[in-house]
């Protein structure tokens, strides 16, 4: 049963992250996702200090705000202070992450968070934190509920805003011309990324969020030219990695999050070498004279 809950958690995180990641990598904003996933740390700590609990809702709000603030700051440094784009990202997220760690050290006695957990989470503990109703009925792990709701919200967001997201990603000029606000959808997307990060954070940590945001979409991008197919494919690849990663971790007796990230990397390696349309080894074969 534990294995089931852990794989389910991983798959839920994989679903939200891979869907959003498709948009991020096509907008060349993969590193913004990385930045947000680190920069939400102070938001989580502050929400924790204010409410004194690891209750999910205030944390989601606190970290969601920080995530949007991060995008604002990056935009601000880049557009108004004319800091080079990559430097703006690097300065912003390291700064916020440093603040987060300092806050953890200052309130070490009151904050039940530790630094390792921030980076690679503890998905193995998911099945231990059960949601038990007042009548004593066990409803399954709490995290699974939070993540299910987040996943539903993300899918809803993408289904309802499909046209707008698609247009602002592929042809912002055209989108603006027919009256779609590019910056509104940009910030909506970033809010979605922040929410996903925070919801997944406790269970899988920043590093797996980044891996899911980047690796499955990048793999799918090598396998297809159709955007809808890419969305579906990246979700499938993410889920596959969760299953594979779990058993790899069991075999090596190591971190599940780390193992899942490793499997996403292997998927990418296979795709770049053997993708039917653009694999490096496949193409070479075709070039040989018949």
């Amino acid at each position: 049963m534990n294995a089931f809950w852990i794989i389910l958690t991983g798959s839920l995180v994989a679903t939200c992250c891979s869907l959003l990641g498709c948009y991020l990598i096509l907008r060349r904003m993969a590193m913004v996702g990385d930045a947000i996933s680190h920069a939400v740390l102070p938001g989580i700590v502050i929400a924790f200090l204010l409410t004194g609990s690891r209750d999910s809702v205030p944390m989601l709000i606190g970290a969601g705000l920080l995530g949007v603030l991060t995008t604002f700051l990056i935009e601000f440094f880049h557009r108004y202070a004319r800091v080079q784009a990559d430097a703006a990202i690097g300065v912003t997220f390291t700064w916020l992450f440093a603040i987060g760690i300092i806050l953890i050290s200052v309130f070490a006695g009151q904050v039940d968070l530790d630094q390792d957990c921030v980076l690679y989470g503890e998905i193995a503990y998911v099945p231990l934190d059960l949601w038990i109703t007042e009548s004593g009925l066990s409803m399954g792990p709490r995290t699974v509920w939070t993540l299910s709701i987040t996943t539903l919200l993300i899918i809803l967001f993408i289904v309802l805003g499909y046209k707008e997201l698609f247009l602002t990603t592929f042809d912002p000029a055209f989108a603006a011309a027919i009256g779609i606000s590019t910056s509104l959808w940009y910030y909506l997307l970033m809010t979605a990324v922040s929410l996903t990060t925070v919801a997944s954070f406790e269970s899988v940590g920043a590093i797996l969020v980044v891996a899911f945001l980047v690796a499955p979409p990048a793999t799918a991008y090598l396998l297809t030219d159709n955007f809808k197919v890419m969305l579906v494919l990246s979700v499938l690849l993410g889920i596959l990695a969760s299953v594979g990663g779990y058993y790899l971790a069991v075999w090596l007796d190591g971190s599940i999050a780390g193992a899942i990230a490793t499997v996403t990397g292997m998927e990418f390696l296979l795709a770049i070498l053997f993708s039917p349309s653009r694999g490096l080894l496949i193409r070479r074969k075709q070039l040989q004279p018949v």
């Binding site: 590193m31 996702g33 690097g90 630094q115 390792d116 590093i207 971190s255 490793t262 996403t264």
Partner: protein
């Protein structure tokens, strides 16, 4: 105060180690960071920092010891491999660089975490302390670390000085470097190696995530104060060194405070201060410049209006009401009034009741703007053969910019003309 003196006397060996170590590390990685920043590859340092972890773990698994030298070799190998992988992915597939960086960063780090936890669970007692690579341990630097730091720092600086010209060319004009026969590929590898070196050493002090800041932030801050690369390198090193000392001082006065994050926090504050307030390139300086330009344009437009009205009525020194002015050109009323008041303070217009009159000074300045406008219109029609009805907009902009020298050349070039393309007299 007592603490301050105690700290800066450096009598305590521990203080000496921590401070010197932080300073060496921060300033040498800042210098290397300047070059990666200028090559627009700032985030690559982040990827290397994450990719070091699997190397450390592999070195430990293979050798079974925690000999720092062996661990560093492992770190160096995977750090270097990560950069090569990023280059390979971007050049051989349609994946963009940012995606490649994110991918390599998370996958390498994931492998590292998997290995690290696997080692920790294996019950091998020798493993404790490997995780210091994750978050650094600046506060517990010892003499041995310091020797490694100094050697690497001196080595990095030496290489930068020796290859200064080549690296500069690589950053600013790669194509030219290739043309004159520099081994660009080898130089790229050299810069890569320098980056990996800086990261591998620095990571022990500040940890994986914050290492990127040690490379990027001082360089980004220094870039705002100067246009000269040598000055920029020096400034970045100084900013790095200052934050190193300050971070060490904070964690000395409050022992619970982690040194690494404080160094990063301080260097980030310096950077944000620079982004906002540096003269010339800073945000505030640019806002002020924009405002100054806007006021100048508004004032000159108002004087031009008064002058044109004078021309029309053949009388420059009668007063005109505001509505008369705004009839000819629509300027928001509030803006027009504040502009006129500024002009009054400078002595270009006089005010009686609700109307405004040019002074001699004001007439002179207004006439100059009108002259430049008409000269430019003439120049565009004569030399660029634009239609007479297409030149007004352009002249509206350039009339505020032309310098007296340009004005003289225009007059000469156009042979001191009398009339503009619309047959208005050039004053």
């Amino acid at each position: 105060m007592q603490e301050f003196l105690e700290f800066f006397s450096f009598a305590d060996a521990n203080i000496r180690y921590v401070t010197l170590g932080s300073v060496l590390l921060a300033s040498s990685s800042a210098v290397v960071g300047c070059f990666t920043l200028l090559r627009k590859r700032a985030l690559v340092g982040d990827a290397v920092a994450h990719a070091v972890l699997p190397g450390v773990c592999l070195a430990f698994i293979l050798s079974g010891t925690k000999n720092p030298f062996i661990l560093l070799i492992g770190a160096f190998v995977t750090g270097w491999l990560s950069l090569v992988t990023i280059d390979f992915i971007t050049s051989r597939s349609r994946i963009k660089e940012d995606t490649a960086i994110g991918l390599v960063l998370s996958v390498f780090f994931g492998i590292g975490i998997l290995l690290l936890t696997s080692i920790q669970h294996s019950g091998n007692a020798a493993q404790s302390g490997l995780d210091k690579f994750l978050f650094g341990k600046a506060a517990s630097l010892i003499g041995e670390d310091l020797i490694t730091f100094s050697v690497v720092a001196v080595l990095l600086l030496l290489v930068v000085i020796l290859f200064y010209k080549e690296l500069t060319l690589l950053c600013f004009d790669e194509a030219y470097a290739r043309t004159i026969g520099y081994p660009v590929r080898a130089l790229e590898l050299l810069l890569t190696t320098l980056t990996v070196f800086a990261v591998v050493v620095g990571i022990q002090a500040v940890g994986v995530v914050l290492m990127a800041a040690m490379l990027i932030t001082p360089a980004a801050a220094a870039r705002f104060w100067t246009e000269n690369l040598k000055v920029m390198l020096l400034l970045a090193a100084l900013i790095g060194a200052f934050s190193g000392i300050a971070g060490a001082y904070v964690s000395y006065t409050a022992p619970a405070m982690p040194t690494g994050p404080w160094i990063v926090l301080i260097v980030s504050m310096i950077a944000i201060f620079s982004f906002a307030l540096a003269p010339g390139r800073g945000w505030v300086a640019r806002l002020l410049r924009q405002r100054r330009n806007r006021t100048q344009i508004l004032e000159e437009n108002l004087l031009k209006l008064l002058y044109q009205l004078g021309e029309l009525k053949q009388d420059f020194y009668t007063s005109r009401s505001l509505s008369e002015l705004l009839e000819r050109r629509s300027i928001p009323k509030g803006e027009a009034i504040s502009g006129l008041q500024k002009l009054k303070r400078q002595g270009y217009v006089k005010r009686d009741h609700q109307s405004w009159t040019l002074t001699t000074e004001g007439k002179k300045r207004g006439r100059r703007v009108v002259r430049l406008h008409r000269l430019w219109e003439l120049y565009l029609t004569q030399y660029l053969h634009l239609a007479a009805d297409h030149v007004h907009e352009d002249a509206e902009t350039i009339e505020h910019i032309i310098t007296p020298e340009l004005e003289k050349r225009l007059l000469e070039e156009l042979n001191y003309p009398d009339l503009d393309p619309h047959s208005a007299r050039i004053p």
